[in-house]
Structure formats: structure tokens, C-alpha cells
Symmetry: C2
């Protein structure tokens, strides 16, 4: 997988780039809509491609492994075919979900033993097995098995956890280079930096994973409850060390402002459930701030949902109508809010790329950061 840097900002460490995959090109900075179980919730595949122009989506290995199961996805010829999505896919390693969703789990040098949140059945993820599973899913970009440290976590435990993550990385990378893709397209393997909120550990981890000749590098274990300033500090410390000519992926982040700040620290790729999950709960992100659609103030506001929005839903539906759907728990409410929010996130990335290109990113970021956090 080739990565070309197109423009580098002078005032910040932001940059635009292009990732070349066998399923097409990805302009960075990029936001990847989360398609947990092989579906971006409440959004049709044709809407993802034609209305949103999503350049890449994310799938969750943990969820796909449990349901529909790797046997089914393999038989289908991989996730692209199973869900009928012909653009790039990235899958995470399942590490985060093992810690956040599953029942009893036991970590050992061997791997992570856990109970399914669906039926309680026991499973073991090893660094090698996670590569095999992602080979079978067939994502264009696959991730190493890591331990996502909870927050807070003391230095001693964070260091111990980090060592496990590094051991697993060694085994996972080794297995990756000794196995082949199962389908007609290439796959890239990204190691993951951990280290909790400790700069020394983050730097150690970044240096360690930078030693692997990977196509890109991920930053994990952030946005798990720590203050935003800490997240930025850790991200900045890591991007200082990671190879400048490779894409950096900040996992599970974040709000629109988080994205802009992280871009200025040199991050290229993002994913987050926020646009879809918060959308389903009636929260809309716009370039002028956040709208809680449950708020009484929208009940007779018949103006377009978002007159400046890029999606058809912004112009075909009104604020009052969406409020009614959200209050009434109508499925169409989830559909509209998800499309709106994803459209907004993707627009924000497109605009960031434009601003970086024209050398105005820093000023634009300052202006936007104020607007984006407003409560409408």
C-alpha cells in the first residue's frame, strides 16, 4: 500500500496525502464510518458510496468473528463481497471490544480469552489468530492485537500492558509476513502504539512499533476517559516519532474538534461511532454547533435540517420533522441523523484537506473549533 504526502502545512504538522489500495484511493485526512457488524448502522451501502462518498469504512473483527462468523464471511469471499462494498475496508483487531464488551476475560502471553457478549461462549484471540481472522475478512488494512489499557491505569500496569502488546505485535507481524491474502487484493498490517497517558511509555511504544516496516501505524488506548489535553499530548508525542512518510491512524477518535486538533498533530486517519451512535440518540453535529433534536425548541422549526449541509437529508427534511421522528423513536430518525452526521464528518475532512492545501488550515481550525462546540 503506497502513501503519498501531497501537502504539508507550515504552521502545524497537518498534511494531506493519498493512500493507494487495491480497492481505490483514499484522500487523507480521512474519517472512516464505523460498520461494526458489516453495516454502517441505518445507512444503505449505496448511500455510503453515492450520497456520502465514504472513501473507506471500518469493520469490527470482534463483532464479525462472533456474527455472522468467519466461516460465513470466508464462504462469501470476504467482507467486501458479503456486504457488497467495493471500496476499502479497515478492520480493527478486536482488542478494544474484548475489553469493553465481552464478559470474563483473561489475558496471558498466549492471548486474550473472553466470553461472547451474545451467548457467553468462550473464545481465545491470539496475535496469530487475529491475523488469520482478518485475512479471512479480507480488509485492506488490518490491525495488530493489542491490549487497550483502561483509564485510569498506573504507570506500572501501563508498562506491563505495553510489554504484552509489544510481544503480541512481534508474533502478529511475524505471522502476517508469513501468510498471504486470501482474495485478489493486498492487505496492510498496522501496529498499534499503546502506553496509556504516560509520555515515556508512549515514546517507547512509538519507537518500538516504528521499527516494524509497516504501511502505517495506529495510536490506540486514547479517548477512553482521559482529559482531552492529555490525549493531544500523547498523540503529539507519538506522531513526533512515527515515520513521517507513513499514515497515522488515531483509533476511536472523536468529536469534530478532536479531529481537527489531531490533524494539526499529524494524524491522517480516524474512526469513531460518535456520528452514528449520537445521531441515533438525536444529536446532530453541524458546522455551526451541536443540535439536540429532542429539544423543544425544534418542535415547530420547519426550516431545512441543515441549510449548509451536504446530504440530501439536510434539504429534504426539516428540524421539526426530525425532532418528531426522534421523539417517536422512528427508525427514519436514526437513518436521517446518521446520514447527516456522517455527511458532516466527511465534509469536515474534505474541508480540512482543502484548507491544508491552501495553507489556511491553522486559522480555519481556530475559527471552526469555536463554532463546532456551540450548542444550538
Amino acid at each position: 500500500m503506497k502513501f503519498t504526502i501531497l501537502h504539508s502545512d507550515v504552521q502545524t504538522r497537518a498534511r494531506t496525502g493519498r493512500l493507494h489500495t487495491d480497492h481505490g484511493e483514499i484522500d487523507t485526512p480521512v474519517f472512516m464510518p464505523v460498520g461494526t457488524a458489516g453495516t454502517v448502522k441505518a445507512v444503505h451501502q449505496r448511500e455510503l458510496a453515492d450520497d456520502l462518498n465514504a472513501l473507506i469504512i471500518l469493520g469490527n473483527t470482534y463483532h464479525l468473528y462472533l456474527r455472522p462468523g468467519i466461516d460465513i464471511i470466508s464462504k462469501a469471499g470476504g467482507l467486501h463481497r458479503f456486504m457488497n462494498w467495493n471500496r476499502p475496508i479497515l478492520t480493527d483487531s478486536g482488542g478494544y471490544q474484548v475489553y469493553s464488551l465481552s464478559g470474563i476475560r483473561k489475558l496471558s502471553p498466549e492471548g486474550a480469552l473472553f466470553s461472547s457478549h451474545i451467548d457467553g461462549s468462550k473464545h481465545l484471540f491470539t496475535p496469530e489468530k487475529i491475523v488469520d481472522i482478518q485475512r479471512a475478512i479480507g480488509a485492506d488494512i488490518i490491525m495488530a492485537l493489542d491490549e487497550c489499557t483502561p483509564y485510569p491505569c498506573d504507570h506500572k500496569n501501563a508498562k506491563k500492558s505495553l510489554e504484552l502488546t509489544h510481544q503480541w505485535l512481534k508474533r502478529g507481524f511475524d505471522h502476517f509476513i508469513h501468510t498471504e491474502p486470501l482474495y485478489q487484493h493486498g492487505q496492510s498490517f498496522f501496529p498499534i502504539v499503546q502506553g496509556s497517558i504516560y509520555k515515556d511509555l508512549r515514546e517507547e511504544s512509538a519507537a518500538e512499533i516504528a521499527g516494524y516496516p509497516a504501511d502505517g501505524y495506529a495510536i490506540g488506548g486514547l479517548s477512553v476517559g482521559e482529559p482531552e489535553e492529555t490525549m493531544y499530548e500523547m498523540t503529539g508525542a507519538v506522531t513526533e516519532i512515527l515515520p513521517v512518510d507513513k499514515p497515522r491512524y488515531l483509533m476511536g477518535v472523536g468529536t469534530p474538534v478532536n479531529l481537527l486538533e489531531s490533524i494539526s498533530l499529524g494524524v491522517d486517519m480516524f474512526d469513531c461511532v460518535m456520528p452514528t451512535r449520537n445521531g441515533r440518540n438525536g444529536m446532530l453535529f453541524t458546522r455551526n454547533g451541536i443540535m439536540n433534536m429532542r429539544n423543544n425548541k425544534w418542535k415547530d422549526d420547519f426550516s431545512a435540517l441543515d441549510p449548509e449541509g451536504a446530504s440530501f437529508v439536510d434539504h429534504q427534511y426539516s428540524k421539526a420533522y426530525l425532532r418528531h421522528l426522534v421523539i417517536s423513536k422512528e427508525i427514519l430518525g436514526a437513518q436521517i441523523a446518521s446520514l447527516h452526521n456522517l455527511s458532516f464528518y466527511l465534509w469536515l475532512m474534505e474541508e480540512a484537506r482543502r484548507q491544508i492545501k491552501s495553507g489556511t488550515f491553522s486559522q480555519w481550525k481556530s475559527k471552526m473549533s469555536k463554532q463546532l462546540s456551540a450548542r444550538l
Copy 2:
């Protein structure tokens, strides 16, 4: 509202026609997707128009009255504007929901007193108020307040109930002709035949309502638990009496076979929650029979959802993929199944019109009735 009969079948009482409303023409026989609370569940308005080519949809007065409320819909300029749907709408009178959904209700000559299923608040529907509400909603076709008799119901109570329905009809019709539409389009008022499963009462009711110079007539209180043969017998008895040159609407019916049988009895209009509700539960109607998507047999069937289907979902998604979504309770599963089923129902009506026109309806109906009930 003008109704033109285009073709009459020779072997049955089926006919094709065209209803002319201020929001466009409706070819009959027609199926009206149910948009309970101002949304056909899980379907975007542009999908209704562009993908399904729904010619008219239905809204539920009871639901819309409670939420968002008539004040909001009035301020929006009516339901068409509120939900951004520019084709015809029919609203029911709320009678059925008062009996099936609401809590404590008390019927009196004055009207129906009931408790909201949402917050328990008390409300009174009178025949006049139901007209006013539907004037405010602004549907192209509006319905009289009726009492929908439960099943079973003895002859004495059915007769008593019928008398109440007829009294209410008189007041409702009177109020209708002494009020004006609130928006820039006309409205038609349909009386409703009741009479439970008693032919004498059905005939009495049909004769009574046929006395009103209405644009169309509805048949209510069927498909509430009685045997199918009884439903057909009642429907046939009523259509014998109703004016032949006016559209007949069989409320809340039914399965694909129910529709074909009722068309052969001279019914022109249908609505039913079955395609959307059963779809959300994973049941698909196809021209070759019924598919339960939860069935294990679909888990690795990667063929197109319905190779003969008319909707994009039939070709963009596989059986195995939809099964996965249904099992995983993913919203997209509800979206796909709803679009498929509605598309199938609308195709069935389109095909029925074609068969009536070409004089082959009866044979086609026999063949289809066998296929449609098969379990795939």
C-alpha cells in the same frame, strides 16, 4: 376527486381505474404503504417516490394527533409539507387505533373517549372533531369515524355498534360538507361499512353508506381474526351494493393472496402494515413464496435477495447478508426487508392491473395464489 374505470374483468369483478387527486393520479388497484406517524417505517421519502413509486401512502390520524400533534402539523401547513411528501395521502379516522391501542375507552353517542397509549392522557374523538383533525392534517382522502367491532361479536352487539357508526357517519359527513379544506388542495371523505361477520348487517351498512354522495367507500372491521372465507364473503356482499363507479377501499388487508382475492371481488384500494411490520421481523414476501430470513438455510446463501425483485435491495444484497442483519437486529435489516416487501406489494398491484387489462387476471390469480403461499 374523479374516478375513472379503465378496464373491467369479464370473469371476475376486478377492474382497473384511475383516481384523480390534486396531488396526482393513482392507478387502481393500489396498495398504500402505511406511514403511521408521518413516516413509512425505515423508508426514506425519496425511496418511496423514486425506488418504490408509491402512488399514495397512508397516515394514522390517532398517531399523528397524539404525536407530533395537530398544532405542529397545522403550523407546518399539513402533513404533505411536514413530511415532505408531494403525492396523495389517505388518513384513517383513528377509530381502529382507539380500540386496538389506547387504554380505557368509553363509547357514547357523543364519540369515543380514550387514553393515549403514550402518556395516558384522556382525549375525545367525535365525528366532527375527526373531520377537523383530518382537515388540519390535509390528507387527500379522509375517513369517517367508525366503531371497529372486535371479533367475535354477537349479532346484537354488532347491530348496536353499526347503528352508532351510522349515526357518527351522518354527523361526520354533515360536518365535512360544511367545512372547507385548509390548504390548496381538495379532500374527499369516505364513509366506512361495518357489520362484523353478518351478511345482513353488512348489506344494511353498505346500502346505508351508499346513500351518501361520497367520492369513495371503505370496508372496515375485517381481517380482525375472522376466517378468510368469511372476510371474502363479507367483502363480496358489500361490493355488490356499493356504487360500481366509485373506488372501494378494504381497510387493513392483507396478505398478497388476500389482495388478489379482494381485487376479484371489486376492491380497488388496500393498506396493511404487513409488508413493513413482517419485514422488520424478517419475513419476506416474494412472487415464489414466503421467506423467513431467520431460517438457518439462508446463512450461506450468497445469491441475490430476490433475483426477480424490482427493488435495488433485491440485487445489491444477498440472502445471507440480510439474514445476518436480521439475526443481529441491525437497522439496515429492517430497511432492506421493508423496501423489498413494499416493492413486492406494489409490483403485485401493478401486475394485477396489467393482467386485468389483458383479460388474464383470473388465470394469473389462480397461479399466483398457489405460489404466494409457499414457504421457501
